[in-house]
Amino acid sequence: MALLQQAKFLLSITRTHDIVRRYFVVNGFDGALTMLGLIIGFLISASTDLTIIINACLGAAIALGMSGVSSAYISEVAERKRALGKLEQAMATDLQDSTHGVAARWVPLLIALVNGSAPLIISLLILMPIWLVNAGIPIPISPLYAAVLIALGLIFFLGVFLGRIAGISWLRSGLQTLLIAVITVTLIYLFVGH
């Protein structure tokens, strides 16, 4: 709890709450659409072994997570260093030992973790029904269709989340992101489906 409070404090003094939120949505959306694309690709293809589907999707999910962590960390370290340098210049003092110095070291890591975990967690949630069926636990519908439904649901909820942030209709915002997913699926069917 104290760790969470400290993280919130560091994000607040660097005013990076909105960056974290943005990264979460952008990369979460990336993860959901990538998994949706992969699963639709497998649905179009001749019947494939579930283990192969899980391995391919998990590989993509881990790669998305690593890409999210590393890209956000590199860019945020540079941003935080620049911001701290600017502040030190204005204050005419060394701030390395102050909370601003601590924030400059920890905030990039926090942002990187959010940026990397968002697509990874969302991908794992989408893969859940395929895992269950592969582990011998029956579900009422085909695992690939169940995964597609979860992906569409998560994409809708990301839209709802964005709608709440913007203070606009959550339903409209959710439907907008869902429309993007539907367009993606249509494009995949158009280009790969034949």
Binding site: A90, A92, D97, T99
Partner: protein, 89 residues
């Protein structure tokens, strides 16, 4: 025993943490500290503050260390009130 009862400090700090968090952190240094913070001037990145701290025995080093840890810079000690109290017991 000589105790510091009141100090008025001139401090420069970044905009974050804000005045409320800043003064709360100083008040947390001592159990009976009373902190009055006034923003005197503000520019693009910093603000100049007048901080008045009152207490039964102010630990100046601890107050200064808190100000530094929050990114503030102590410019001057403008007022000091010190009392020599007879020890009892």
């Amino acid at each position: 025993m000589v105790s510091v009862k009141r100090i008025v400090l001139d401090v420069l700090k970044p905009h974050q943490p804000n005045a409320l968090v800043f003064s709360q952190a100083i008040a947390e240094v001592g159990i009976d500290y009373h902190v009055c913070l006034t923003v005197l001037e503000m520019d693009e990145n910093t603000e100049t503050l007048q901080i008045e701290v009152q207490g039964s025995a102010i630990d100046f080093d601890a107050v200064q260390s808190t100000i530094s840890s929050m990114g503030g810079s102590l410019h001057s000690i403008d007022v000091v009130e010190v009392v020599n109290e007879a020890e009892t017991g």
